[in-house]
Symmetry: C2
Subunit: 457 residues, 2 copies
């Protein structure tokens, strides 16, 4: 009963779709963030639900950990094989299985990326709205309960995953949820699995809710005299009930990094990127109301885009901001923070973060999905232990402050390796309850061990 035996058995079954090559293991031992490379013992590429069930059975019999892998874009090291084992790469399970436009749902395999899915949907008049920036896999997005720029209007993966197919620790294939809009038929297993970071089972299919492509879209970019003024505008807009489809903050440092990276010419000021979706008249009315709120809060430059090409250019710049910030200091790695607070505390949370950064002398451009109260400081690391320690202090203070404000250590990136130490403070006895659920559904700690729940011993 060893990992080695499991790998031997998997090799017999999966042939060349089981690999122990150094290169493949390294590719699946990396993280997009600052965590050390941690290699799995092998990587396997299943092609069907039945194959996933088979490999779960083999690994369960041999006590070999199984770690799901989508596009490798997570930021907290969720996919790192901290106790070894086999990484299950879903890139060969990346199909659209069934599109039902009349019910506004689509059934997909977990390996499909969100960009590919939306390409396949383009002709239908529907789209899948959840947009974390990175071209993540849908399975990975479900497992981290991802959200991003459009959650303020369309919700997170919690709201947009209707049903799942998954393989349990016993190797059973089960289906959670239905294709109906709602159900009161017992415990919400779909919601339990969304955000479970692969610790309760391996998801093999997802039924997603789709939304109509909006008739009209209007994007505006406004520059503000201060981050505080920009945040005040957001809070006013949210509280007045303006139905924003996106409302994003980038601070002055981020704007400068974007200018250098994307050859843009934003003033070196904090900006809000805002977007409205809907009927043409409604969108125009809403955009005008937002402009008024922005001007009342001192917005100095207003750029508008209703044409697809210009909008796409603006959002591409916003989505490239993380890479722009990394490029602003070549060779650096980053700790990407991810707190989320009640909107009434957002201005205070951002201001206190900026004070912490100044006090530590750290570069940490701030950007975020501020309509949800969610923001990130991208803490740039030069490799020195001192800077890393300072960044860890800033991150910890952000988390503790968010928790004290009634918020959370992670708005959308998940726990992974980085946030485990904050879960006791966040959940209290609720964290032990998560552990009890994990033990009930995965008693031998087969699925992504070392993550999410309290670790024994």
């Amino acid at each position: 009963m060893t990992i080695e035996t499991a790998i031997d058995r998997l090799r017999q079954r999966f042939g060349q779709r089981l690999t122990t090559s150094e290169a493949e293991r390294e590719a699946h031992g990396q993280s997009e963030s600052h965590f050390p490379v941690t290699l799995p013992d092998a990587v396997v590429y299943p092609e069907s639900t039945a194959e996933v069930a088979e490999l779960v059975e083999i690994c369960a019999a041999e006590d070999c950990p199984l770690i799901g892998w989508g596009a490798g874009t997570s930021l907290e090291g969720h996919g790192l094989a901290v106790r070894g084992g086999v990484t299950v790469d879903f890139s060969r399970m990346a199909q659209v299985l069934e599109l039902r436009p009349e019910d506004m749902v689509v059934r997909v395999q977990p390996g499909i990326t969100r960009e590919r899915l939306n390409e396949e949907l383009r002709a239908t008049g529907l789209f899948f709205p959840v947009d974390p920036g990175a071209n993540a896999s849908i399975g990975g997005m479900a497992m981290t309960r991802a959200s991003g720029t459009t959650a303020v209007r369309y919700g997170t993966m919690r709201d947009n995953v209707a049903a799942l197919e998954l393989v349990t620790a016993a190797g059973d294939v089960i289906r959670t949820g239905t294709a109906a809009r709602k159900s009161s038929a017992g415990y919400d297993l779909t919601a339990l699995f969304v955000g479970s970071e692969g610790t309760l089972g391996l998801v093999t299919e997802l039924t997603l809710r789709l939304h109509g492509q909006p008739e009209a879209v209007s994007t505006a970019v406004c520059a503000f005299p201060s981050t505080g003024a920009a945040v005040e505008a957001v809070v006013e807009a949210v509280q007045s009930g303006l139905p924003m489809a996106r409302i994003e903050l980038v601070d002055a440092a981020t704007a400068e990094a974007v200018n250098a990276y994307s050859n843009a010419d934003f003033p070196a000021l904090p900006h809000l990127f805002v977007e409205f979706h809907g009927a043409p008249n409604a969108v125009a009315e809403e955009a005008a109301r937002f402009e008024e709120i922005a001007r009342d809060n001192g917005a100095e430059t207003i750029r508008k885009a209703t044409e697809a090409e210009e909008r796409s250019r603006l959002w591409h710049m916003r989505h490239s901001a993380y890479w722009a910030i990394l490029a602003s200091r070549p060779g650096s790695r980053a700790i990407v923070t991810d707190v989320c607070v009640p909107i009434s505390r957002l201005a205070e949370a951002i201001a206190a973060t900026q004070e912490d950064l100044a006090a530590e002398g750290l570069a940490g451009p701030i950007l975020g999905h501020v309509g949800d109260g969610n923001f990130h400081a991208i803490l740039l690391l030069d490799g020195s232990e001192a800077e890393r320690a300072a960044a860890e202090r800033v991150n910890a203070r952000m988390v503790e402050r968010a928790q004290q404000m009634g918020g959370t250590a992670t708005g959308e990136h998940g726990i992974g390796m980085g946030k485990l130490k904050h879960m006791q403070a966040e959940h209290g006895a609720g964290w032990a309850m998560m552990g009890a659920i994990k033990r009930a559904l995965d008693p031998r700690d087969l699925f992504n061990p070392g993550k999410v729940v309290p670790q024994e011993g």
Copy 2:
């Protein structure tokens, strides 16, 4: 270790707030539907979370079942003490604890009713949208994952409960969720408890999401030549993305019952009640688009109401429909069915139900929240065993058909006593997973035993 000992200990602690009187036990042994009266051994009225924790500890030590009780409006016998024990009546825990209009959340105790809550919110410009018709308690609504007329726009209790405080089987008080808009910090315990029908713990506080009272509201009632035509109009409106706040079907039999009960003069035809919420221009535009769709589907009479008084009168009639149907056959009880199907199958599901009713010679007026694909046939029972058996057959066929269509046995009423027998077919191995979760969190089957999960022995 007996129920008697538990009651003795509770009497010492709670004095006159623990009662074993026949009248009180009968009041908590009734159901609004067709289930036989089933008395608890006692009823207790806690006044605080600490008291709930105390009574859980006493009952856990004595192996005495605990059944939560809100307003007693559930339709599947959720609150019936099928294994005896103590009913925990939350009517003395019915306060608004904290209103945070700037974050659009309110923290309440479980015993507050939805009408009382909205009265307390009236001056704030905010409201709590979930509207199951009955003046249910918020705690009960959370436990059945209730929804109702507004779910098509505002979602169900799943979407509108942000956080919970609850007492576990060990007597621990835990908090799930935060006041932030979103979080990726581990398993979604809030979603797990919403819809759990009191089987995993006793909820002592809820943090609810509020919504802005709409600037303008427009209600319309349209009469259609057939149920099929009305449903087609709904399907078209949903698929065209019209943001309806409410879209309700009542069939011809229901319209006639409402006429008699509410002194109204609806034509003896199927009707849709539709409502739009938003900015005045948008609402007017949307209502006009709906009218067009209705007329294209043969709508014959159109009544409109933008004034609050007339709207309130219309919705009062809609909400009284269940009582109107009961009154249409004095002395009768009812089986209230509750299936939900993908919207593409709605017309077929309703038509097949009508055929079943005709074949059995049963009276079963149909109404429902058709924008969600959710509808109810109110199966009237005269007390004869033959009619009851026929009604059970119709209900079972409705459920099986909904499940075959990819829908659910219960859209919003929950499992309770009535739907337990359909859960294996609905969930397959997922039902055993629910049982594993129940055993992990409530190993001695303390909370509402006999409900939701597979029953042993």
